[in-house]
Symmetry: C2
Subunit: 540 residues, 2 copies
C-alpha cells in the first residue's frame, strides 16, 4: 500500500472519543470496503439484543437469570426500585466499610489499624481484583494486598508464612458468589486454621462477599464476621468487578472509586450508540469477527505497553474465552465458538515471542494497548523524566518499540489494532473494563451464542468431585485392610472397591500415587512405577 | 474407547524416569499405532543433529555461533579446555560472590548486609531469573528480588519507589549479553539516576552479567562495579538460565545450585538416548508434532497445577515461540513455523478459560504439569496437612481438579499430556528446563528449521530506532520553530522535515501526540484529535 493510501486509511479508521480519553485505530486490519455492508444486519441485531439485555430481560436462560452488570455503574438503569436500592446501598456500604478500615474506626483485634488484606477467591472473584490491585495500585497504599486463588496447599502456606506475625493485622476477604466454590472454601479453611494455630480469632478478621442466601453467608453470619457484602445472581463472576467484588478493592486501595465507576458509565453511554462504525465496542467486536472469520480462527494477542497493565491479558482471557467459548449456538446447533487470548506486555514480549508473531504461524492478530501519558498519577513520581539519550526518555522508547513492532508485523501481513488511553487512572481502567464487557456481548450476538453462561465448567468440577470420592473410598479400604495382607495391583483394588467405570483404573492409579507421595497410609510394595505392575499395601 | 482399552493405552503410554523423578503420559493424545513408523526417520535425523550440536558444531549459522547451553551443566562436554575452564570458573565466581553477599563479606555501602536485589534485564535475561525466583523461592530468602524488565518509566518508578530508602541496601544486577539492549540500558540509566538523586554511589551496588567485550562490560569496568560475571556468545538468551544469568539467582536465593544443575544434567543424559518412544524430550517433540500436524496448527496450553509454577508458561512461551516461530526452513523455503503457547495455572484457569477449552474452538492441546508431593521443602511448612473435609486435603482437590478437567476435555475429544514431577525442588526445576530445551531442539529438527536464531526480532528494533530518530528530528524542528508562527498539520510537518517514507505520516502523528501528552514543548492548536486536521505548534 502506498504511503498516501495508508495515511488516508489511517485517518478514516482512527477515532478519538473525547468523553472517554480513548482512541481506537483499526487501519491495519485488512478488511475491505465491502465488509461493513456485509456485517450490517448482524450488528443491527446485536444492538437490539444488547438493548433488551440492559432492560433486564432474562439473558441467561440456562440459569434463569438477568444480566445486570451495566446497572452497577448506573443504578438508574436497574429494572426496578428494589434492585436500584440494593446497588446503591451496597456501594455506600463498601465505601463506609473501607473508610472505617482505612481510618482505623474498625481496628484489628490488636488494637492497631489493619495493614494487609488477603483476597480469597478464584476466577471471576480473583482476576478482576488482581487486575485492579496491580493496574491502579497507588505508590503507598495503606493496605498491602495478597491473593489466594487456588487450592494448592503449598501456595497457600507460602502466602500465609509470608504474612506470619502480621496475620493479626490482616483482613481476610472471602469472595464467592455461590459460596460453594471448593477452591475458595479450601483456602478459607486453611487460612482459618492458620489463625487458630496462632490463637487468633479468624472471625474478627473475616469479610464475606457473597449472595445473601449462600452457605458462605450463613457461615459469616453465624461466625459474627466483621462484614458481609452482597453479590447478586444477576452479576456473572467475570463481569463482577463493579460489584463489591471489585469496588471493595478500589476503596481499600484508597483511590477514586467514583471515578472508576464513572469511567465505566461513560463507556456504557458511548457504546450504546447504534452505529457499527463509531461505537468502539462494536468496532472491536467486528474486528474480532473479521480477523477470525466469525469462528475464532485467529488468536487475539493482547500487548499493553505499560507495566501496570500486565494482567490485562489474563483478565481478558477469562472475560472473552469464558463468554465466547461455547459448543452450541442459541438454536442448539454445534458451533464450537471462541476466541483464544494471550499476551503479557510490551516491549517485554518483543524479546519473548514477537519472533513468532512476525515470522511464524499466521494464526493471530494483535491488540496493542498504549497509554499516551508516560507518568501515572497514582505512582506519585514527582521526578522529571530521565533522559536516556539527549532529549529522549524511556517512555519515548516504549512508544517507539510499540510502533516499530506494529510496522514490523504489518510488513509481513500481520494485522493489529491500537487502543490508546490518554492516561492510566481509575477512570480509564474502569472504562477499559466496560469497553471489553460490551465488545464481548456484541461479539456473542454476532456469532449467535449466549455469552452469559459457562456450562462447560461444570463437567470438570463434577469429575473432580468423583476423583475425591474415589480417594475417600480408597483411604477407607486401606484403613480396613490388614497390614500383613498381600499387596494389590490397581486392577485388584478396582475390583475390591467395585470400580469399573471407564477411565477409572487410570484415575485410581493417579490417586494412589498421590496418596503414596503424601504419606497417607498407603505405600508401594516395591518402588515399581509401572501402572499395570505396581502393587500397593497399607503402610505399617 | 472402552475402559479396558483406555487402561491398556495408558499403561503403554505412561513412562516413569526414576533417575529424574519425573513421568510422562501421552495416552490421551489420539495418535494411532502407525504414527511412530511415520515419524521414525525424522526422529533419527533429529537425534543425529542434536549429537552434532552438542559436539560444538556451528548451529547458528546466521550468527556464526556454537550452541552450548548443554555444557553449562556438564562442562566436561565443552568442545575444548578453554571453554570448560571458563564455565567452571564462572560457576566458582557465582558461588563465591553470592556466598560473600549472603555472609556479609561483601557489604552494602551502609556497612550492613545487602537486603534486596534488582534484576535488570529483558527477555532471556529476565524470564528465566523470574521463573526461578518464583518457582524456587525459599520461604525466607536473605534477599528480596525485584525485576525491571521493560522501558516503561512508570513501571521503573513504581519499583524504585517501593524500595525507596532501601536502595542503599540493594544490589542491582544488570543482565545483557550484548550489553546493547536498549530497554535494559534505559532501565540501568533510570536506576543509576535514582541512586544519584539519593547521593548514593551506584557503582557500589552494581553487578554486570555480560559478554566480556560488551559495552556494558566496559561501563562496569570503568565504573568499578562490584562484580562482572560472564555471558558467552554460544549461549542464547532463552537458554541462558544455567549460565550466571540464572545461577546467580539460585545462589543469591541461598538454595541448592548444584542440585539445580544436576537436575538439568540428569535430564540431558536421559534425553540423549536415541529412542523416540522412551526419550522424554523426543516424546514431547513428537506429540507437539502430532498435535499441530508439524505446522503448529494447534496452540499448546500449559497448565501447571502448582502455584509456584505460574510463570512456567511464560518461560515456555519465550523458549518455544522464539525458537520455533520461523519464516524459513533450513533450505530457505518459506514455512511460517511455530507453536503458540499460553496458560497460567490450575485449577485457577478452570475458572477462567477452561470453558472454551472444553466447548469452544478446537485449536489447542493441553500439557498438564503435576507435582505428586503437595508440600514443597523450600516453603519450610512444618504443619500437618489441613483436612478440608474428613480425610481430604486441599492437595487432594488440586489433583482432583486436574484429573477431572482432563476427563472433561477428553470426553469432548480434546487431547492432553501429563507431565508429573515427584517433587518440586531445585533438581526437578533444573530438569524441567533442560527437558523443554531439548524438546524444542528436537522439534526444530523435525520441522527442519534453525531453533537458535531470532531474525524476526531485529526488524521491530530497527523500526523502533527509526521512530526515536523521528522524534529527535521533531523536537529539534519545533525547538527552532518560532513560537508565534502558524500551527502546522501532520502533512505540513512531514514536508518541513523532509519525511516521505511509507507509514511515516502515521508514525509522525503518533509521536507528536505522545510528545504533546508528555509536555515536551509541543501543543495542539485546538483540542482536535483527527489525524488529518490537527495542527501543532511550539508551546509558549
Amino acid at each position: 500500500m502506498a504511503a498516501a493510501k495508508l495515511w488516508k486509511r489511517y485517518c478514516e479508521n482512527f477515532k478519538y472519543y473525547p468523553e472517554l480519553g480513548l482512541s481506537l485505530d483499526i487501519s491495519r486490519m485488512n478488511f475491505n470496503d465491502g465488509y461493513w455492508a456485509k456485517i450490517f444486519t448482524k450488528c443491527k441485531q446485536a444492538f437490539l439484543e444488547m438493548d433488551e439485555l440492559e432492560k433486564g430481560n432474562i439473558a441467561n436462560p440456562d440459569e434463569n437469570r438477568m444480566v445486570g452488570h451495566y446497572w452497577l455503574r448506573n443504578s438508574e438503569l436497574a429494572p426496578n426500585c428494589e434492585l436500584k436500592n440494593e446497588i446503591d446501598q451496597a456501594l455506600v456500604e463498601v465505601k463506609t466499610f473501607a473508610a472505617n478500615i482505612l481510618s482505623g474506626a474498625i481496628k484489628s483485634p490488636t488494637g492497631e489499624k489493619f495493614k494487609n488484606v488477603i483476597y480469597l477467591g478464584i476466577g471471576g472473584s480473583a482476576l478482576g481484583p488482581q487486575f485492579i490491585a496491580e493496574s491502579l495500585r497507588p505508590q503507598k497504599p495503606e493496605l498491602r494486598f495478597f491473593f489466594i486463588d487456588n487450592t494448592d496447599p503449598d501456595g497457600i502456606a507460602l502466602t500465609l508464612n509470608d504474612l506470619e506475625q502480621e496475620l493479626a493485622r490482616t483482613l481476610v476477604v472471602v469472595v464467592s458468589k455461590s459460596g460453594g466454590t471448593v477452591e475458595t472454601r479450601n483456602g478459607m479453611i486453611e487460612v482459618a486454621m492458620a489463625y487458630q494455630r496462632r490463637n487468633l480469632d479468624f472471625s474478627k478478621h473475616a469479610v464475606a462477599i457473597t449472595s445473601l442466601s449462600s452457605k458462605l453467608c450463613k457461615i459469616a453470619e453465624a461466625g459474627g464476621w466483621i462484614k458481609i457484602l452482597p453479590m447478586w445472581d444477576w452479576v456473572g463472576g467475570r463481569t463482577s468487578v463493579m460489584s463489591p467484588v471489585g469496588t471493595l478493592v478500589v476503596a481499600l486501595l484508597g483511590i477514586k472509586l467514583d471515578e472508576f465507576l464513572a469511567g465505566a458509565k461513560a463507556v456504557d453511554i458511548v457504546t450504546r450508540e447504534h452505529n457499527m462504525r463509531t461505537n468502539p465496542a462494536m468496532v472491536l467486536a467486528t474486528m474480532w469477527y473479521y480477523a477470525g472469520n466469525g469462528k475464532g480462527e485467529k488468536d487475539l494477542v493482547v500487548l499493553p505497553y505499560k507495566d501496570r497493565l500486565l494482567l490485562l491479558s489474563r483478565y481478558l482471557q477469562q472475560l472473552i474465552m469464558e463468554s465466547l467459548g461455547k459448543e452450541f449456538n442459541k438454536e442448539g446447533k454445534v458451533v464450537n465458538q471462541g476466541l483464544a487470548v494471550y499476551g503479557n506486555k510490551g516491549s517485554t514480549d518483543q524479546h519473548a515471542y514477537v519472533q513468532q508473531l512476525r515470522e511464524g504461524v499466521k494464526n493471530f492478530f494483535v491488540l496493542f494497548v498504549e497509554v499516551l501519558e508516560d507518568k501515572v498519577e497514582l505512582t506519585n513520581n514527582t521526578e522529571k523524566a530521565v533522559e536516556v539519550e539527549a532529549h529522549v526518555t524511556s517512555g519515548d522508547y516504549l512508544q517507539g518499540f510499540m510502533l516499530g513492532t506494529r510496522l514490523a508485523l504489518f510488513e509481513k501481513g500481520r494485522e493489529s489494532i491500537i487502543l490508546t488511553l490518554d492516561k492510566l487512572n481509575e477512570f480509564s481502567v474502569g472504562g477499559l473494563i466496560a469497553l471489553f464487557e460490551r465488545a464481548v456481548g456484541f461479539y456473542a450476538s454476532l456469532v449467535n451464542i449466549n455469552a452469559y453462561h459457562q456450562p462447560g465448567v461444570e463437567a470438570g468440577k463434577k469429575a473432580a468431585g468423583m476423583v475425591v470420592e474415589m480417594e475417600k473410598i480408597l483411604l477407607k479400604f486401606f484403613d480396613n485392610y490388614d497390614v500383613s495382607s498381600k499387596a494389590l495391583s490397581v486392577e485388584q483394588i478396582a475390583s475390591e472397591i467395585n470400580c469399573q467405570k471407564e477411565d477409572d483404573f487410570e484415575t485410581l492409579y493417579k490417586v494412589l500415587e498421590h496418596l503414596v507421595a503424601n504419606g497417607r497410609g498407603i505405600e508401594r510394595e516395591r518402588d515399581e512405577r509401572k501402572p499395570d505392575l505396581v502393587k500397593y499395601k497399607r503402610s505399617r
